[in-house]
Symmetry: D2
Subunit: 297 residues, 4 copies
Amino acid sequence: MTELHGVFPYLVSPIDDDGRVKAEVLARLVEHLIAAGVHGLTPLGSTGEFAYLSFEQKRRIVEVTALTAAGRVPVVAGVAATTTADAVRQALEWRRLGCAGVLAILEAYFPVPDDGVVAYFGAIADAVDDGADWPIVLYTNPQFQRSDLSLAAIERLAGKHRNIRYLKDASTNTGRLLSIMSRVPDLGIFSASAHIPACVMLIGGRGWMAGPACLIPRQSVRLYELCRAQRWAEAMALQRELWWLNQLFAKHALAACIKGGLELQGYAVGAPLPPQGALDAAGRAELQAVLASLEAL
Amino acid sequence: MTELHGVFPYLVSPIDDDGRVKAEVLARLVEHLIAAGVHGLTPLGSTGEFAYLSFEQKRRIVEVTALTAAGRVPVVAGVAATTTADAVRQALEWRRLGCAGVLAILEAYFPVPDDGVVAYFGAIADAVDDGADWPIVLYTNPQFQRSDLSLAAIERLAGKHRNIRYLKDASTNTGRLLSIMSRVPDLGIFSASAHIPACVMLIGGRGWMAGPACLIPRQSVRLYELCRAQRWAEAMALQRELWWLNQLFAKHALAACIKGGLELQGYAVGAPLPPQGALDAAGRAELQAVLASLEAL
Amino acid sequence: MTELHGVFPYLVSPIDDDGRVKAEVLARLVEHLIAAGVHGLTPLGSTGEFAYLSFEQKRRIVEVTALTAAGRVPVVAGVAATTTADAVRQALEWRRLGCAGVLAILEAYFPVPDDGVVAYFGAIADAVDDGADWPIVLYTNPQFQRSDLSLAAIERLAGKHRNIRYLKDASTNTGRLLSIMSRVPDLGIFSASAHIPACVMLIGGRGWMAGPACLIPRQSVRLYELCRAQRWAEAMALQRELWWLNQLFAKHALAACIKGGLELQGYAVGAPLPPQGALDAAGRAELQAVLASLEAL
Amino acid sequence: MTELHGVFPYLVSPIDDDGRVKAEVLARLVEHLIAAGVHGLTPLGSTGEFAYLSFEQKRRIVEVTALTAAGRVPVVAGVAATTTADAVRQALEWRRLGCAGVLAILEAYFPVPDDGVVAYFGAIADAVDDGADWPIVLYTNPQFQRSDLSLAAIERLAGKHRNIRYLKDASTNTGRLLSIMSRVPDLGIFSASAHIPACVMLIGGRGWMAGPACLIPRQSVRLYELCRAQRWAEAMALQRELWWLNQLFAKHALAACIKGGLELQGYAVGAPLPPQGALDAAGRAELQAVLASLEAL
């Protein structure tokens, strides 16, 4: 059974002015991250601008990522849709393209009651369940999504679908993670950039899926290893340094910040898709200073 | 110059189980509404589930609506996207299909600052500006959208693009409409279902674009005429009756409510796209009672 | 039976540096407002800084207002508390001091469920019910209060306590007022400054209780009379002018704005109690311009 | 210099039906908590219903607590007001009554800009600064307060007033605590019940000020000692058990929950002041089960 754990950088989506995926840049980034020791890759998360891409653009990003990774690390790609039909279509296609699992996201314009939330994620799980093990990571994000996952919905989903085995929580509420762990102990929990990774590891997390790990993959892996070894004093010393980067992400737009940082590191990933703005000069200067202090330039 | 005014029903989007637009049902609904005297038609508003449809589905809905209307009333279709490129593509295509103008909507996952908001709507206006008059209606909806239109952004847009001539406000804040009128007097204001149409007409509105008018087109036109004639006592007597319907819309999900009502009236428009739910039995009973009292069954 | 109607200025609370009520200034303001034709007076509303005053300060303000008004117009003073016991104490004392009724407000730190809300207002109504007619105005303000009045709670209260005969709504949602009127037709509705008074009158309101009427009492009374006479075109012409003042109130802090305006008109009411700030120079300039244009300086 | 650290139970405020403080019950609770090894006591926090008490009731609670503690542990009482004058009055009186410091809280009806926030807390600090060391704990609670403390305001306050030496954060955002620590390293940070105490200790916290510690003082002290000894595996094992209690607090009203639990433990503290409700039967049963599992009955 595939056990997901460790550091999964949230990949950005490099798109050129004509709307084409910049495959070469993306492949180079994937190689770089794998070389740095990351445990997996997650294209099409929030940082990957899933809400701004067409199906074709998404498909191509997953394809390039999976082909480049070539099984060296698991690729867990984002499935994000407002309709069940679109979500199922993505999940099936991402599996066909070689992903090891999916990160399942519910977009919504109108609020969705719990029954609809459960139906949506359940339909994805059923569609990909051919008897094989193929993990689904639930994604819950109260900040940007209109229909968050209640604890009751999480319990219902985890109890019923054997492939729903993980959850990534993008709230800032770390206590909520401990509550989920206490009520649904079989669910593996991943942190997002708004939580302190060392804290999530302390309470029993499996790792983190987050944008900052794109910029500091080596340092993130080191932090993970210290936490796994329960060397908490060293972990916290490193965590304190790395947290300066998370503070920048909370301050600037996520995609703009990671794309801006990758540009500083020599990856021509471009800016977020308009009308989203690029990282401004002040933000770039702040980011440059923090990355330099972390020896990430 | 095309002057938009009066009652624009927000059309629903009838889609079958295979994802195909039910063209015959939609065409029949369009005929019915035109026969009832409505002043225009708006496919792809919130009630039209714009956030749940693919480009192809949207295109087909606009096509069927425009072909059926055949110029008898203006069709002002919704343009809704997270990216500028997608919005421009929709606007150009809707014009080619014969729309008289568009209702422009900014979808967003991450918040967009005013400059981005202005850039988005400005790009749509520029793309369709070939020297001809082709009105753009700005849509502002603080409830369901992450980046609402500030008064400052509205002023900037209206001052710069000659085709940005109208605004539809879907807040519940009627005073905000009077503030916009006082600061941008050349902008024509349309009400949404959350405002009391008679009040918006009293303060100088041009009409309303709203879901309920799909179910009570004749009654809505009558209300509009009474307001135009400044027969306020009669207008309010009618408004009071019609408001029961708006109260139901505020209580139930918009698309589910209108689709459920149209089914009761004999239009097989189906349910909203899953995981959105259909109107439940209790809601249907409430709706039936109100429609019966308004002689709309 | 006392029927409340018309324009009730929300009085400010002039307090000197030692915390004493400036009785002379308050009395002069009361005389001025009565001379301008207002239909009633409301001390201790939001604009009256009820949340910043001790019981003794409140008591003195009610006393000065009631003594000065001397029955010429009804004084409907604010009762605001977090506990039922404190609210009842205020209501009994305000009655003893000669008020014609109270505006009842629930303050809360923790959210209060509907049963608690109903118990609170019900206890006030019971405490003052000695068989005589003594109207209670419910106050609902979703913006600044943690426990707003649901429609269900309003229905329960109005159905059970004969003195609960009015409601003042400080939301911006004018449609909500029409919904309340349709469901609880016996309740008289007063507007707040966030609604357009002419609209609230059109749909059947009794008048308004609001801060701006402190600064433009004569103009407010004129607007009320035009609405009562159903001269809507003239009413809207005047309403449009007066709305500039409401726009300023929405922009600046309420108490600071009214106190600043009264200072400009020659009433030394001082600034709001610290740490609330006084109206700044830019705000004062804006206010001066608007008051001048309304011939209110 | 007084260094605050460890477990500070948030005391409840036992009040009888006539509004009198139940001094005997409160004193017995204080004795019990001190015997259990708590490091300090905090009357008049949120759980202490500060927003529902008169100055006289507050004064009496502080007096009884300080007299009973008699210097065995520091008493850090809540100062909470909407006006600067009231806050200063409380702080001076609590010092006179023997408190070792205060927990300073800004209540607000209208939002307060940062300058006002800084002025309020600064005025308290200045008022009690007679050259002696007398610590002030800033309290920040985005959930129940209208004017939260921004990081910029915290930096300004900590940099300027030598007695502003601690902060208690009642958000659920644990990452925010690490951000504050990184930017204002001299400020000692206390956790609230919404954070996981073990996590806050891991990142460098001084302890916690929270309601649950009233019910499980011995277990809380044990958790604190394990954290201080960096025995994280044991700490987390205990933390997991205790977290069931925090989950109940998040579900029920704070004051109702603690008062209900103390009643189960034999302290006749009564119910929260009306219109707040008492813990209902289902809540009491849940609480009883959790307290029994923690050997706290």
